[in-house]
């Protein structure tokens, strides 16, 4: 087991243009498991809020009979937050408004399988 089991996933995401942060977060606790952040960014704050948002979106989609949430995006004047879930983990990307969301979405959905595989090993 490496000290940074999710490093390859996070590095792949933060290499995307306009992406400013990528985090693996525990959905239940809203705590950072691993992150790639810029200096001055508050990972704890992003993790807590993004995990809460994702969890509420997942529960709302389920309650509305829409099924599982595959991809969540929040668009705001200052930037975007994109998230996908895998098990109890949420993969969160924070980006500038100019980011190519389609590309980020593809990368996030591609990373879910890896997240589940590594997350299972980490938890197990």
């Amino acid at each position: 087991m490496t000290a940074r089991p999710f490093a390859s996933i996070l590095d792949g995401l933060t290499r995307q243009r306009w992406v400013t942060a990528a985090l693996v977060v525990s959905e239940r606790d809203g705590i950072v498991v691993e992150s790639n952040l810029r200096i001055g960014q508050s990972g704890d704050r992003m993790a807590a809020l993004a995990a809460s948002l994702y969890r509420k979106a997942r529960l709302s989609a389920k309650a509305a009979g829409l099924g599982a949430v595959s991809f969540m995006q929040l668009e705001a004047p200052g930037g975007r937050i994109c998230a996908v879930g895998g098990g109890d983990l949420v993969l969160v990307v924070v980006a500038e408004p100019a980011v190519n969301v389609g590309l980020v979405r593809v990368e996030l959905l591609r990373a879910v399988g890896e997240l589940l595989a590594i997350g299972g090993d980490v938890v197990g």
Partner: protein, 157 residues
């Protein structure tokens, strides 16, 4: 659920914490166990019990931290099946307080920690200057003060 406070300046920051973090119960107390504010408790005896336990746990964990790490542990989290407890020291210009909160699945430890930091800042900003030096924690008037605070919180004052 009703929030009640012994000193009015505590109410604003504590209400913001409860609203933002989605806490079910919240308790602010002096390290001696004297209650200062509560949210969500229905009975005096529950507040009294929670205060005594919280003060005892905080004192024990702080001492454990000193023994192990040379400095006190400042926070404690316990996750139950449906509810979780967060207990931590809240520093303010009026000294250290102990803060206890209980939250359910609607909230998370991350949110509680985030808004606890804001609560501490809010208390520091709202605290009026100390008029006199506080007396010893376990003075002869401890029980009288405890009963007075409980009476204020539960509308008997």
């Amino acid at each position: 659920m009703q929030m009640t406070v012994v000193e009015a300046w505590i109410e604003g920051p504590l209400k913001r914490f409860v609203d933002d973090a989605g806490a079910e119960l919240a308790l602010l107390l002096h390290p001696s166990g004297q209650v200062l504010a509560q949210h969500g408790f229905a009975r005096e005896v529950d507040v009294m019990t929670a205060c005594a336990l919280a003060a005892g746990i905080q004192a024990s964990s702080a001492e454990l931290g000193r023994q192990l790490d040379g400095r006190p542990f400042r926070g404690l989290h316990h996750s139950g099946r449906t509810r979780q407890i967060f207990l931590a020291e809240a520093q303010s210009p009026r000294g250290a307080f102990v803060f206890l909160t209980v939250f359910g699945p609607e909230s998370s430890l991350g949110l509680v920690r985030l808004y606890f930091e804001e609560l501490v800042k809010g208390l520091a900003a709202a605290a009026p200057p100390l008029e006199a030096t506080a007396g010893p924690a376990l003075a002869e008037h401890f029980e009288r003060d405890l009963n007075r605070n409980l009476a204020v919180l539960f509308g008997r004052a």
